[in-house]
Amino acid sequence: MTSPTTRPRRRLRLSTREALWAYAFLLVPLAFFLLLRLWPALQSFRLSFFTWHVDPDQRVFVGLRFYRQMAAEIAAGGDLYKALRNMLQYFVIVVPGQMAIGLFVAVLLNSVRRFKAVFRAIYFAPYVTPAAAVAWVWGWMYSVNFGVFNNVLFAWSEFVTRLGLPFLAVDPQPFLTSPQQALPAVAAVVIWQQLGFQVVIFLAGLQGVPREVHEAAEIDGANAWQRFWYVTFPLLNPVIVFSLVISTIATLQLFDQVVNINFTDQGGPLGSTLTIALYMYQQAFQRFQIGYAAAVTVLLFFIIMVVTVLQLRLTQRRVEL
C-alpha cells in the first residue's frame, strides 16, 4: 500500500494528468473555433473600417465611412433599404406562418395513431432537400404561362364559367414577375421547406406533455380547445421559444431560395425579394466592395443579436406572468 505521505502528491499528479489530456484533446477544436470562427468574425469588424486591398498594408483606415454609406443608402431608399424592408416582410409572413401551421400539423399528428411516422416523414422531407434545387422547381410551378398554379387557375375559371358562375373565376397571376407578389411567393416556398422542422420540434414537445395533466383537465370539464389553450400551450412554451428563435434567425439569413428562384434577376423584380445576405453577397463577390460588405455583415450580426435577445426577454417575461 502507498504511504500516507505520497498519497496527496499522487492525487495531484492524476488531476494534472487529466487536465493535460483535456487540453491535448481540445487543441485542434479550440484552434478551429478561435481561428476559423472568432477571429474571422473580428476580422469582419476590422475590414468594415478599411478600404479593401489584397495587401493588408495597403488598406486605408476610413473610420465610419462604410457605415455612413449604409445610412445614406437606407435614407435614399436604395437596395439596402429594400433588403431591410423585405427582411421585415419575410419575418412577418414566414415566422408566424410556419409556426402556426407547424403547430397545427403537430397537434393533428399527435391525435392520430396510424401512419404517424409516414405523415411526419412526408412533412419533413422538403427540409432535407437542397434549397437551391427546390427553388428551381417552385420557379417552374410559378411560371406565368406554363406554371401549375396559373394552369389550375385557368382550368378553374373555365369550369366555373361553364357552370354559369363567372364571378368565381380568378385571373392568372404574375407571381414572381410582380414586385407585389414575388416576396409572398418566395415566402411560401420557405414556409413549405421549413415547415417539417417546426412539426418535428412541436410534435416532440407535445409528446412531452403528460397525459395525466390532460385527463385531469378533462375531468374538470375543460373542452378540447380549453385543454389545448390552457394546458398544452403553456407547457409547450420552451419549445415555442426555441422554434421562434431558430426560425427567426433562419429567416433573417435567407439566401439560397431567393438566389435560385429568380436566377437571372437575383433579388428582383426591382429588389422586391432582395435579402441582406444576398445584398452582402452582391456587394462583396460581384462588386468587390469588401469593406462595405463587411459593414453590412456587422449590421446583420447586430440585428440578429438584438432580435434574439428581445425575443428571449419578451417570451421569458410571459412565462413569469
Binding site: A19, Y23, L38, L47, F124, V137, F146, Y281, F285
Partner: protein, 293 residues
C-alpha cells in the same frame, strides 16, 4: 399458467378492441386524417411535379398535362452526359464525406472532454464554443474567402470543407450524450489502466452510437445542401458541389425546363432516399438539438 394468463387477458383485450373499433368512427380523428392527407399532398406535390416534368420531352413540358404522354430518359441522359453533373456529385460526396468523419470524431471528442474530464477553464471553453453560435455565416464568408485566396484554398476540396469541420451544434449534441454515461464506467477503466484516449475511443464512443448516427446523417445532409460558401469558394465549374452546379446549369439552360427539372431531380432524389432510409436518425437529431440541446 400461460393459458390462465391468456384467458384472463382475453376479456379486457376484447373490450379494448371493441373500444378502438368504436373509436375509429370518431369524427375528430377522421377530420385529422383528412387534413393530414391533404397537407401531405401539398407537401409532396412539388416533388411529384418535378419528377413527372423531368420525364417529359421539351415540346410536352409547355403543355399542361400532369402525366407525361411520352416518357423519355433523354433529359437525364443530357444532364448526366452533357454536363459535369457526375463530377459535381463526386465533389459533394468527397466534401460531405470528409466532413462527416471530422464532425463525428471532433464533436464527440470535445463533447467527451467537456463532460468526462475535469480541468481548469472547462466552463470557459464551453462558453467560447457557445458564443460562436451567435455569429452568422454571412459575417464569416468574407474573411474566409480572403484567407482562402491567401493560402490557395480556392477551388479545392479543403477550401469548400474547412468551415464545417467542427460545428458547434454537434459539440452540444455529443455533450448531451456523454453526460448521460455513468462516471464509474470511466473510473473503472482508469483503474484497469486504459489510456485517456482509450477511455474516449473504446469505452465512451461505442456507448453513444445513436448520437453519432443522428449527428453523422443530419450533418451529412446539411453539408450536401450547403450553398452560400461553396458558391463563393468553388469558382471553377469542375469544383462545384451539386447545389451550386444545379444553380449555374439551370441558369444557363434558359427555358429548357425539362433539363432543369431533371437536374433538380438528380440533386433532390438522392437526399430524399437517404432521408427515407435514415429517417429515424435524422429526426432524432433535430429533436435532440432542438428540445434538449
Amino acid at each position: 399458467m400461460a393459458a390462465v394468463r391468456t384467458a384472463a387477458a382475453a376479456a379486457p383485450a376484447a373490450a379494448t378492441r371493441a373500444a378502438t373499433r368504436r373509436r375509429r368512427f370518431d369524427p375528430g380523428r377522421a377530420l385529422a386524417y383528412l387534413l393530414l392527407t391533404v397537407g401531405s399532398v401539398v407537401m409532396a406535390f412539388p416533388f411529384a411535379w418535378m419528377l413527372l416534368s423531368s420525364f417529359k420531352p421539351l415540346r410536352e413540358i409547355f403543355r399542361f398535362n400532369f402525366w407525361p404522354e411520352v416518357w423519355t430518359l433523354a433529359n437525364y441522359q443530357e444532364v448526366l452526359l452533357g454536363t459535369q453533373f457526375p463530377r459535381w456529385f463526386l465533389n459533394s460526396l468527397v466534401v460531405a464525406g470528409i466532413l462527416t468523419v471530422s464532425v463525428l470524431f471532433f464533436c464527440s471528442l470535445v463533447g467527451y472532454t467537456l463532460t468526462r474530464l475535469r480541468f481548469p477553464g472547462r466552463n470557459f471553453v464551453f462558453l467560447l464554443i457557445l458564443s460562436t453560435l451567435m455569429i452568422p455565416t454571412e459575417m464569416l464568408v468574407i474573411p474566409w474567402y480572403v484567407m482562402s485566396t491567401q493560402f490557395g484554398w480556392v477551388n479545392t476540396y479543403w477550401g469548400i470543407a474547412f468551415p464545417g469541420l467542427i460545428p458547434a451544434f454537434g459539440v452540444f449534441l455529443m455533450r448531451q450524450f456523454f453526460a448521460t454515461l455513468p462516471r464509474d464506467l470511466f473510473d473503472a477503466g482508469r483503474v484497469d489502466g486504459v489510456s485517456e484516449f482509450g477511455l474516449f475511443w473504446r469505452i465512451g464512443l461505442p456507448l453513444v452510437g445513436p448520437g453519432l448516427a443522428a449527428l453523422g446523417i443530419f450533418n451529412f445532409v446539411g453539408n450536401w445542401n450547403a450553398f452560400l460558401w461553396p458558391l463563393i469558394v468553388a469558382k471553377s465549374p469542375d469544383m462545384r458541389t451539386i447545389p451550386v452546379g444545379v444553380a449555374f446549369f439551370s441558369g444557363e439552360a434558359g427555358t429548357a425546363w425539362n433539363l432543369i427539372m431533371a437536374s433538380s431531380a438528380l440533386a433532390i432524389i438522392p437526399v430524399l432516399v437517404v432521408f427515407f432510409v435514415f429517417q429515424r436518425q435524422i429526426i432524432e437529431g433535430v429533436v435532440l438539438t432542438g428540445v434538449k440541446g
